[in-house]
């Protein structure tokens, strides 16, 4: 079953076409990786799918239903969650509260009139937040203020927030950027584990080819907003157009 499908998805900023007629279909359970040189439009693509940006043209369908007119929180409630290119967390709250907020939204939906009910009544929110923190090995640091975490842990916390939203599709924008080789390896293991355990479908934007080859079943190459190649990792690697795009990107 196709989980996510975009048709002719286009976004222009003034004269610049950042995403250019992208047709993308992701099967349930699949892991795809979107690669491409700097400025290729990878983050913009994620922003379009998660409804952070309005497309200039095109359609987005999730679970066979158009989400093109949705608000971002509605998209999340439908089962799409994301991480940002810069670790986006709640800096002054504890690690545990960071996860609880996401669990709360997952368990209770986008809005409720429960402002006179004590949080004590929401044991399931705490339990699921703990479970997620345990899964990303942050349970021991749960009382630490999030901004005091080392960088690698912050990114893991962001992943925990994204996972606590109980998604079917997880979009990750360069989750290992800025990480040490050890942290990168740990993150890859983490991604593979949650993919197995939660049966997630994954769209990964990543520059680190080792990570891409480890995680992706299929690779999509973006260049100047358009898809120039698509296929299994080995196929794409040998594609002359892809090599050209990357070399061109280095020169520019």
């Amino acid at each position: 079953m196709v989980l996510l499908e975009t048709r002719g998805l286009t976004k222009s900023f003034g004269g610049l076409v950042a995403v250019d007629g992208v047709d993308l279909a992701i099967e349930e359970g699949e892991s795809i990786s979107v690669i491409g040189p700097n400025g290729a439009g990878k983050s913009t693509l994620i922003n379009l799918v998660t409804r952070m940006l309005d497309p200039t043209a095109g359609e987005i369908e999730f679970k066979g239903e158009s989400i093109t007119g949705y608000e971002p929180h509605e998209v999340v409630q439908k089962g799409v969650s994301r991480s940002f290119q810069t670790a986006s967390i709640f800096p002054e709250l504890s690690v545990e509260e960071n996860a609880q907020i996401a669990s709360l939204a997952a368990e209770h939906g986008s809005f409720r009139l429960n402002f006179l009910r004590h949080r004590d009544n929401y044991g399931e929110v705490e339990a699921s937040a703990r479970e997620i923190l345990d899964a990303v090995d942050l349970l021991g640091q749960r009382n630490v203020t999030a901004e005091d975490l080392p960088y690698g842990d912050k990114r893991r916390l962001e992943l925990a927030i994204a996972l606590a939203s109980e998604p079917d599709l997880l979009l990750m924008d360069e989750p290992t950027a800025g990480m040490s080789p050890e942290e990168t390896a740990a993150t890859v293991r983490l991604i593979e584990r949650v993919k197995e355990e939660l049966g997630l479908t994954i769209l990964l934007v990543e520059h680190d080819m080792e990570v891409v080859f480890n995680v992706a079943d299929r690779i999509v190459v973006l260049h100047r907003g358009a898809v120039i190649a698509e296929g299994a990792p080995e196929e794409v690697q040998g594609d002359p157009e892809v090599q050209e795009a990357y070399l061109g990107g280095v020169e520019a």
Binding site: E71, F84, E92, F115, H118, G140, Q141, N143
Partner: protein, 384 residues
């Protein structure tokens, strides 16, 4: 919350330790419920003792020079500042138009008292409902913008209300003279607000103080509960990172609107009480300086806490009303004159107090108290 010991990263290494810590933390949740009772109880005691300490107790009241009427006024502004701070301190939204809710409710309460009923409880209810509806409408418009635009939009709305009361609606509001026809009846039809409480007047003073005090405790309990409900967490999440809050699936806009309505309603409770307190609604209650005053009170007291703004309101009104009345500054409890014509400088004094607090204690008076308390605990308790 900050009283909990901070655990370090190494706890993760030892699986056994994690399990143990997990188990240990559960009782602390039941303690949270107890602490709600504790907060309400402590507030009740503080509110009950306040007018006595402030206006009548030996030595203390001589030092403070307080009086009964100011005690009620401090509580009323305290409710206003506390409600305002739910928005500024907890949700991260700076409204510069809260005079609209305070003054709007004050006028609504005043009009209600002459036109419909003079029952104090109903007057407060009417003013509060008016403020809540007003907050809903204003929030609907102003919350579409963030940051400085939000502040300006709220300011503009507040000033619009001011000018409406000043002239187009002066037939109803009595224009620049303020609304003078307020009629305050008896509480539950039997307690005259101006009369002393029989047997307890040495402690509480008048029924009016009992009325204001009871509503203050109720408002504190309500605000405390809101902050300990899922809303409290969502508000702080929005303050910390609005985008992330939206992208965990929260309808940020509706939560912000709720924060605005709850905050505006508390301002409405306070504004209605202000009408009852003075039996009069001054036009300035809608003026932008009122919005500015509540910002200063909240920041002075400390925006990071529920009670800070109430202390801020107290200090502000104290300087405004007491310090301004002191003709000569003397060494406490003696007649030695330090400075003549002291009171005329109250604005300057307030400015100095404000700057001193912000520079020395960025977390406000409440933050200072917390630091002192933590210091004493460290000195006295040591480590176990």
């Amino acid at each position: 919350m900050s009283d909990e010991p901070t655990e370090t990263a190494d706890a993760a290494e030892d699986g056994g330790a994690v399990v143990e810590r997990t188990r240990r933390r559960f009782p602390s949740w039941s303690r949270a419920v107890e602490s709600e009772w504790f907060v309400v109880g402590a507030t009740t005691v503080a509110v009950a003792l306040f007018p006595w300490l402030f206006a009548r107790a030996p030595v203390v009241s001589d030092l403070l020079n307080g009086y009964q009427d100011l005690a009620s006024l401090i509580l009323i502004w305290g409710i206003f500042a506390m409600g305002f701070n739910l928005l500024l301190g907890y949700t991260g939204l700076l409204s510069f138009g809260h005079a609209a809710f305070w003054g709007g409710a004050a006028y609504a309460a005043g009009l209600f008292s002459t036109q419909v009923s003079s029952s104090p409880l109903l007057i407060v209810a009417a003013g509060t409902v008016f403020a809540a509806l007003l907050a809903w409408v204003l929030g609907f418009v102003a919350l579409r913008r963030g940051g400085i635009y939000f502040a300006i939009l709220t300011l503009a709305f507040g000033q619009m209300m001011y000018y409406m009361a000043l002239s187009p609606l002066s037939g109803i509001t009595n224009g620049e003279n303020g609304y003078t026809d307020v009629e305050v009846g008896q509480l539950f039809g039997s307690f005259h607000l101006r009369y002393p409480v029989p047997g307890l007047d040495w402690l509480l003073g008048t029924w009016q103080y009992v009325f204001v005090g009871a509503i203050t405790v109720l408002c504190v309990a309500l605000a405390y509960r809101v902050l300990n409900s899922p809303y409290g967490m969502v508000f702080r999440a929005i303050r910390e990172n609005e985008q992330r809050a939206e992208f965990v699936g929260l309808n940020v806009w509706r939560y912000k609107l709720m924060a605005f309505i709850i905050s505006g309603s508390l301002a409405g409770v306070a504004g209605s009480l202000f009408t009852i307190h003075g039996s009069y609604v001054p036009l300035e209650s809608l003026y932008w300086t009122t919005s500015g005053e509540v910002v200063i009170m909240a920041v002075l007291g400390g925006v990071g806490s529920l009670f800070g703004p109430i202390l801020g309101a107290g200090l502000y009104l104290y300087v405004e009303n007491i310090t301004s009345g002191i003709r000569e500054l003397t060494v406490p409890l003696t007649d030695v004159v330090l400075l003549d014509g002291f009171g005329a400088y109250w604005h300057l004094i307030l400015g100095l107090v404000f700057v001193a607090v912000i520079v020395l204690f960025p977390r406000g008076i409440w933050g200072l108290f917390r630091d002192v308390a933590a210091g004493i605990r460290r000195l006295g308790g040591g480590r176990r």
